[in-house]
């Protein structure tokens, strides 16, 4: 167990060190997220009938595109100089490779969300004062689910050398339950003034648990140097 934790920590530190030295992903992904929010803000925000809580849907579009780019870039790093082949030959559990990749992606996605979310809230005038904790918790849980499945599919796309765009195609329909649940939850909470229902939060938690577990199990089958 201790050995697994130290291997996991080593792999995560490796990813973050590469990112801190190259800064290839975080800057690109954050700017893309802000761009998406700005474009949608210009297109929709100018219309007077767009309510503040529409920001959730806009933020989802930004998270989806930023996430796809982030997952693609972090997996592409493993392709350089045969890093993945080396990892696969190392005496490591492949499930551990998945978990470490997920942790790296989550750290990057949370960093991106920390910049993109305030921008979206500001541009759309989303008043969070009614339930700021609910908003943060729902979005954080949703990002965990999104990163869980995104990490698996980025390995699939990377190992099959599929063309760009396919990761988005694979991911978007799968994460729709997260998008639908979180946007509906925000409508109920901020428009209707109702507390977040346990059932709706349960859907998001179930998504996280199911797909994290399944991805951890099947990761070794899709990984190929």
């Amino acid at each position: 167990m201790t050995r697994a934790i130290s291997q996991f920590s080593l792999l995560v530190r490796k990813d973050l060190r590469i990112e801190s030295r190259s800064r290839q992903t975080i800057g690109l992904v954050t700017v893309l997220g802000v761009l998406v929010v700005s474009v949608l803000g210009l297109g929709l925000g100018a219309a007077s009938n767009v309510a503040g809580f529409s920001a959730t849907a806009v933020l989802w579009v930004a998270y989806l595109f930023s996430g796809v780019l982030c997952f693609e870039k972090t997996m592409a790093v493993e392709r350089n100089d045969g890093v993945l082949a080396g990892l696969l030959m190392a005496p490591l559990d492949r499930g551990l490779i998945y978990l470490s990749k997920l942790a790296s992606n989550l750290i990057l996605m949370i960093a991106v969300a920390a910049v993109v979310t305030p921008v979206g809230i500001l541009f759309f005038g989303f008043d969070l004062s009614a339930a700021p904790g609910t908003f943060v918790a729902v979005m954080a849980l949703s990002i965990i689910g999104f990163a869980s499945i995104g990490t698996l599919f980025s390995a699939v796309v990377s190992s099959t050398r599929l063309q760009g765009g396919l990761l988005a195609m694979m991911l978007f329909p799968i994460v729709l339950p997260l998008v639908i649940t979180s946007t509906q939850l925000m409508l109920h909470t901020f428009r209707d003034g109702q507390p977040a229902s346990g059932g709706a939060v349960g859907v998001i938690v179930a998504f996280d648990v199911i797909f994290m577990t399944v991805s951890w199990i099947v990761f070794e089958w899709v990984l190929e140097p």
Binding site: V156, M169, P173, I174, P177, A206, V214, W221
Partner: protein, 230 residues
């Protein structure tokens, strides 16, 4: 069973399916009463519901076959998974079209983001993407693995989609009371639709198997490589 025996069985099967469809149509137009609120457009329901349930069964077959492939690595499972997903897409397209026609007749709208329409759309998207992914991968083995993994995840996503769309506002009635003649008509439609779905899955599986076999070489030219199940 010999090839000739199989051919006769297949012909009898499809002839029986067509006959059952003809019977169901006859029942629909001669025996079934017209629903008082929605009028004749409600009759689309007798096709819509059996096809929606067949779609779900086809998705489940694809899911079971995906697990079968991942646990045994036998190509027969992959061929069945691909065939079932293909049939699910065709059936789900019919569900969407009949649903839209019904919505237009009943509510005057072609599309509304009601839970059931949204659920059908997401289901259709999930399995169209499955077919697209398979078409994008050349290696037969990688296609089968990636297809099985995606098929597994897509089906696990279905109950989550169902639970999430229930949070949306609904225009549909919560329950529909059917009179006995209507229930009988519905049963008369379930039989041919299930036969159609089962027959299509079997036929597409056989087709996938034949596409996976290398073509015979002709006049000294080397055989074309196997294309594999799409």
């Amino acid at each position: 069973m010999s090839t000739a025996g199989t051919n006769i069985f297949v012909r009898i099967y499809w002839a029986a399916t067509v006959a059952m469809f003809a019977l169901a149509l006859a029942v629909l137009f001669t025996y079934t009463p017209t629903e008082s609120t929605m009028g004749p457009i409600q009759k689309i329901f007798y096709l819509h519901l059996p096809i929606a349930i067949s779609t779900f069964i086809a998705c489940m077959v694809s899911f079971i076959a995906s697990i079968g492939y991942l646990s045994t690595r036998k190509t027969e499972w992959d061929e069945l998974a691909a065939a079932s997903a293909w049939v699910a897409v065709q059936l789900c397209s019919v569900v969407l079209i009949t649903g839209m026609l019904w919505a237009r007749g009943a509510w005057g709208l072609w599309w509304t983001w009601s839970p059931r329409l949204t659920f059908s759309l997401v289901l259709w998207l999930l399995y169209v993407v499955y077919l697209m992914i398979r078409m994008s991968i050349e290696s037969t083995e990688r296609r089968a693995i990636v297809g099985a993994v995606y098929g597994l995840i897509a089906f696990l996503d279905v109950p989550l989609v169902y639970l999430s769309v229930r949070l949306m506002p609904d225009m549909h009635p919560t329950s529909v009371e059917l009179a006995w003649p209507m229930k009988l008509t519905l049963m008369a439609w379930f039989v041919p639709v299930f036969m159609l779905a089962g027959g299509l899955i079997a036929a597409k599986t056989v087709l996938n198997r034949r596409q996976g076999e290398p073509s015979p070489s002709v006049a000294g030219f080397p055989a074309f490589p196997a294309r594999g199940a799409l």
